[in-house]
Symmetry: C2
Subunit: 201 residues, 2 copies
């Protein structure tokens, strides 16, 4: 049931339909979360992730409670966030399909370590972030891991004019419930700029 505000006709509003509660974010960024489990690198695909704090830089990633990665993060107090390019879609999907409990994922990627020393990162990913676990918010079925970003690593070839270039990173997107991967598409316009016109009207 939709309740219109005073300046809308109910007949117009009736176009809206209730689509249920279990809706995704459109679209979701695809990452590979790295952690050492028993001293061995493990990676899981995760799309429930966001920046969480400006200063210091922090991010939040939501993991189902029984995840092996959650154990690894707690074991070391560190984890990594790696952004696979679209070329890495098969390896990424593999890391989403199978738990480290059932498949040894330590050999899927060439791994490097940064200043935290225990957060495994993926050599082939255009961008890798290493985080120190800051706190964990326990929710009913998931744990929200808050990590402070310790460092991030990329390569010169992913830069244009001194800045990371999303066209070169070529990150993967995910949509549900159609369970599809997508690439970033057309440029739409400059942010913190286009809306200026409306203010001046």
């Amino acid at each position: 049931m939709l309740i219109g505000n005073s300046n809308r006709q109910v007949t117009e509003l009736m176009k809206k339909i209730d689509v249920g509660r279990n809706v995704p974010i459109y679209p979701m960024p695809v990452t590979l979360i790295g952690s050492n489990v028993g001293g061995r690198p493990n990676f899981m695909a995760a799309a429930w992730i966001t920046r969480a704090n400006s200063t210091p830089p922090m991010l939040a990633v939501s993991l189902n409670k029984p995840r092996l990665t959650a154990e690894g993060i707690r074991e070391n107090g560190t984890f990594s966030v790696n952004f696979p390019g679209t070329k890495m879609v098969r390896e990424t999907d593999y890391c989403g399909l199978f738990s480290g409990r059932d498949a040894d994922k330590s050999g899927v990627f060439e791994v490097f370590y940064g200043k935290l020393e225990t957060a495994p990162m993926i050599e082939d990913c255009p961008l890798s972030i290493e985080c120190e676990m800051s706190e964990v918010l326990s929710l009913p079925t998931n744990d929200l891991f808050i990590g402070e970003i310790a460092a991030a690593y990329s390569e010169e070839r992913y830069f244009t004019e001194g800045r990371l270039d999303v066209r070169k990173i070529d990150p993967l997107l995910l949509t549900m419930p159609d369970n599809s991967y997508w690439a970033v598409g057309e440029y739409v316009g400059p942010a913190w700029s286009l809306g200026q016109e409306l203010k001046e009207q």
Copy 2:
């Protein structure tokens, strides 16, 4: 300084460069967060958002502490998450440029209300979610609002074969620090499927 694991040569690893700590997620979904402030609808653009819990469905959105929207959410205990299509980029950017303290944004969009009655939603957005505030995690400069999804609304025209179709929703993406909006691009492949090949090898 990068520390390689035993099977990597240092010379190869040296391609990686430290890009600093303040890195974004690539890419970020663009949403408009709706709240009533003093009984009047207000909307801000927000890209720091993720699903946070599976059951019940929850999401998390990070807001700078001084935001007017944060006041509105606390006032009513409700908020909405609206996904603008690429056609709405000017209005969306406007809501990111100007605070409700400086600009009355109540007239930018046609508004409707759902079952929570105090979470204003945007008629023109292909998908709108209304949430009850569940808890707030206070971080140094931001508050992470956890909301339980109460309902979500769309229209028949955004569906294909009974499912929401990201091609029809045509959501906006944001990248930083280049401050650019993008559309969703090419289909890359099926999720929870492509990686199966690697298991079978």
